[in-house]
Symmetry: D3
Subunit: 287 residues, 6 copies
């Protein structure tokens, strides 16, 4: 009987998010304002940061599944809310308004950056509509699954702005097809699940939400069973490598692993492998 039970004791109480224990060492985070189609309000931007910072520190959580409660994944950013960012700025000086708007944007960007900074893999599983800010969100996750009825829409140009919390930066690195990224951005047209898969945005499409969550939990559980040092070290270095050239990435990797290869997990894992066991049979220490 393992000493490492994988039931998280970290309390998670939010207005807009619901966090539950889906499997051993796997947390399930739900966007949880179904009556508002999970539109992103002020509380949401703040709570995402709080939630994923906690998860980053929670050694009983090895992987996360992120989905939306209710009929759709998310209708995206709240228009009122967004207008407010600009309009609530006191004063008439366009420069001072700009100074404050910039602070807000950087703050909103952080809401999705925490998904990357959290070293635990995050699988996003979306269904129905995933609009505007929703695309910023899913592109900051590590693995993307969706249902057949799902679609995404880079909606921002239709409300008069360029997307500014991640889509323009991350989507082109996920979809190989830059021609398609441009088309989606400039026309704001919907991309249905089938095209999302063929273009590489999602790696699997499920028949319905239930099957998708089951599939996502399964993969998350598989990941959660492995050495947390190996999995989380891989995520840290995959993100680093995306932002750097290959030689820079290799240099960083070597410096990273000069300590990580001294881990006991390597010996435990290697011995399990020789005995034809899998990581599920190994008890790794907490991280």
């Amino acid at each position: 009987m393992a000493s490492h039970q994988g039931k998280s004791d970290v309390p998670h109480t939010y207005e807009t998010l619901k966090v539950t224990q889906a499997r051993d060492k796997v947390l399930h985070v739900e966007l949880n304002r179904p009556e508002k189609r999970n539109a992103m309000n002020q509380a949401f931007w703040r709570e995402m940061v709080e939630c994923f910072n906690k998860i980053a520190q929670d050694s009983d959580c090895h992987a996360v599944v992120l989905s939306g409660a209710g009929k759709v994944f998310t209708a995206g950013i709240d228009l009122m809310d967004m207008g407010g960012v600009t309009l609530q700025q006191s004063g008439d000086d366009p420069a001072r308004i700009a100074w404050n708007v910039r602070k807000k944007i950087l703050e909103y960007q952080e809401t999705f950056n925490v998904l990357e900074k959290c070293p635990k893999p995050v699988i996003v599983a979306f269904h129905g509509a995933c609009i505007g800010g929703g695309v910023d969100l899913i592109t900051a996750c590590d693995i993307r699954y969706c249902t057949q009825d799902a679609f995404i829409q880079v909606k921002e140009v239709d409300i008069g702005l360029a997307a500014d919390v991640g889509t323009l930066q991350r989507l082109p690195r996920i979809i190989g097809n830059q021609s398609l990224v441009n088309e989606l951005t400039f026309t704001a047209r919907k991309m249905m699940s089938e095209e999302a898969q063929s273009s590489g945005l999602v790696s699997r499409v499920f028949e319905n939400k239930e099957a998708m969550l089951e599939g996502a939990f399964e993969v998350a559980s598989e990941i959660a069973s492995k050495s947390p040092l190996a999995v989380q070290g891989s995520k840290v270095n995959l993100v680093y490598s995306r932002n750097h050239s290959v030689p820079e990435g290799l240099n960083y990797m070597a410096t990273w692993n000069m300590s990580m290869l001294q881990t006991e997990d390597l010996m435990k894992s290697a011995m399990a492998a020789m005995e034809k066991k899998t990581p599920r049979d190994v008890v790794y220490s907490k991280l």
Copy 2:
């Protein structure tokens, strides 16, 4: 009755290009030496720069469709012309020749760079052959469509040189498959329209040129109907993001939008959205 009519008054007169008003706020630029299979001669390199610099300044143009007149899109660079770059250099000193050749190459690269620097989206719609310099050209456009009979050919190694006006830099960022990019470059083999689509080089294939142009005009017109600040700001930031890491791109985006979110277009667009209207129903000021 909108004050912004979208008929460009900017005069465009060229030897190798033909510019017409395709739709409201949409210009159609044609490679126009059909008798020479639109081969790229000295005038072409110069006129492209002139043409797209004018378009960049033309507030009545919101989107561009680029295609080729006659039977093929382009046979690529003119061999005579290219040989000339080297051979016409006076003197025998290989270093002085090199100095002048470099100036020429930088000048030729600029011919396609203007497509990226022009903030209006450029949809290229090609048919038949697209060879050598033609590939450099289409990879510098934002959206790529082609006909079923189209093919591309990275022809340069067959004439003894490494492609130097953009293909080696841009193609690998457009086609997800680096193994394929390498194969195309080293073997100079043709890639037919079907493979062009499956590899992500083009995002749509049309039955014939007529249908393709119709489709391209339709998308261009859709794009042209939207807030020019939103569309062109998106292009500027998509190009910036491709050349920078994700954190660098996000920082720049926040600084960009600190002024852009103060636009009246946002309020106009948001109100239209709430009234279930589309951007086509909004009159945006010129940019």
Copy 3:
């Protein structure tokens, strides 16, 4: 009768590799410890560097095909060997062990870096299993082919470590689909040949090893027939461009070609083209 025969005289004698002349100007390098499933031992890491440094200097070799002898391509790194890197370090000081481990990793990375530094195109043709270090290896090659029975497996997390000799850096730049790269890395699941092709990891799948080698030799021979300056200059610049932004890549390319466009190969090739001949009909000087 050409003076440039393309039969390499450079001696290649190794424990773990077998080098033969496959075609005119084409070398065939085989991983050659079939009884050990071509597992990567100490000798292998050293010999790869020696072998490809020789090939880089060998003006009679214009292209390389790399494959595995026996039933599988490679079982990847030898577990004993790898554990040894850490365990054989003398002393108890974790910092001194780290210092030495880092040197080893940098050395091992070089084993695959030589594939990129060698300016001659390397086509890897793999069959059966390609596990762990094998994925690091194939991602450092220029063109990837495989057989229908082939699969790859980013196995490292299952033995408790993050892959550190290239997979995390190069795989995301080869497969357009980052969601898939993450899934493969975190779950260590197998990816079969079909998915390898649809995701862009390989550009062709063959029915069996024999057909694959035939196909690979054919393409290698085609490449080998062309101007070595054009082909190798293209490789150098493709690798450079991957590691730099588009404007940086263009600047370097212009500086590169200021001498390379002065080559006699250009005139030879252009004249052949005008006479409807192909590069196979031209005798290029050695490089």
Copy 4:
């Protein structure tokens, strides 16, 4: 009578820091554990972040002077404390210890990064000893003054480690003389105030602490009298420029000023200048 009084209402209560209002819109932050020679303990690392994040938000503060209470500026990091970072880590696995040590270092680096991220200019005025962590601290400030009796010492190698919270990154960009930076780092020798000035580390040396603080307050007050948009925008761009190439810095600057040049401060300042007044005669709105 100006509406903008410049008396900060933000409460600052710390164990290790003392914050007072030195002049109009100028705060004075003192390292305040004189009995411990202002050695940097756990509370210090935390409180610096809290303190400067508050100052960053405090629109009544336009400039900061940082100095040390008691006989010396600082004896640097607390050895016990530092050892503790490593030793208090639970468990024996060197990799898990490494994981936690890295988190700590990143946290400690942030303690000085906040000085750069705070857009208000920070003048550090040090006297007596400035050792180890003290050098990391002063190099993250914008302007450096010291007394004649002051000296700095990059002490880290003498306690068996490479400085890891900023000195190795920032000192070489402040002192023009890289040969000297290396000597200071490798030998851990003291550098006295005279050499600090001639090498560019400090820009002024004062006879004693009293004169130095007077001088620092004077300059801070001068800075505080100017347009906060102009001063703080300059700091943001100076820091950005240090981390980027000249063309990158210029591009960012242009994007920054596209909103900032719309400020009312420009007109107010220009009119003052034409009337032969100085910024002290202008009332700028809060930022």
Copy 5:
């Protein structure tokens, strides 16, 4: 009698600049609105670009001396002019104004960028006041001399803006002392010639303007006598190196010199050196 006479035939006619032949192969460019203290007006920004682009192409000019006519070097940017950039923008939309302001700033930056892009060394020799835009100008030159009565002033914060045409990017790379750069920028205080020299901003101070010009012409003439390939290749690579890391700079340098070392200048120069002659005794071909 040398065939290369070094008298430029390129016509230079401007409102704000005066161009004369100072020495063999040396041009003298003067800021020439002495009655306005050489303040930078609209014509100036345009003419600088025109002038230095011509010089870049003029093979009879090997070096340039830049100075100011009348009592001072320059009073900097014209306040009216600058206000105009913002105020003359039509319309009320802060975002559209921002779009146009940015275009203007990029245009103004180009005015000084041309000094760097021109491969011929530019020696700036300034006397009296060098204020605001004047500092942007001199930091874009290669060598800086001044008179004893000269001073510089980074004046921008005093008129309510952050300097945006080069000072914040280039000054910190010229003055080793970042503490001093910050002080100058935040306080807008004057720096007199003595401090300009001790801080490394200028490399020589002369008693008066006459002596300074004589000295500048002497050095320019010395430079002009040498191989233009060697001198201009050095400038191109010095600018490149400043914007890149050392390894990047070395790689570029090697690629640059692979053609440049084939020059006849090398042999001519080497033979002259062996015969104890100097470059002045050699006739180099035009570049």
Copy 6:
């Protein structure tokens, strides 16, 4: 009685270099062709690489002093030799010659890069002439001392080429004064020891060679007495930091020290410090 004696057993036999044990753990490397003024011939380029690679691996060497035997430090590169690089290339094709010249330059650059890659501090102590390649050499060392009679000369333009083995990349990062760097490069004038010191190129000037070597050995011995992990880790990170932005440098440093802070040297050093001992009293394990 220390187990770590610091007498190197690694054999060093060269034509152009002389290696002796100067002090405990300190090696003295001399350029040793005094009859040829230590001009850099083919053997020299090769032997430097061999010598410093050995030193990098030699755990009994903690620091190096590099000087020149005979009357001057070095007359720089051998003109015959250099011309040969170009002239000995077989064939007439300027592109093939370029290809080979580039390989040579990269090889020559490596000769000085090894000084940076060797993690042990290298103090260069030069006297008399230090010309051309000599400047490339000293700028790749960590600490620079010279005698009063010493001078440097960036001689390359006088023989018709741009310096290509390091001076243009490293000198501007060592001397704060870019104006001076440009002047030295474009005019090829001598810089005497006094200016070398005031500009920051050297950090100390000695009366004669004997005193200089004594001083250099003293500092080297001081450095050699300290924890090799601390000293060499500092060098690795100082070099890394020079090539990267501050945030990049800090990130790398944190990853580096996550293992290095686990060293026993830290505890040994800290205990010595508390007992008022110095590193000289501590026996550190070999590295």
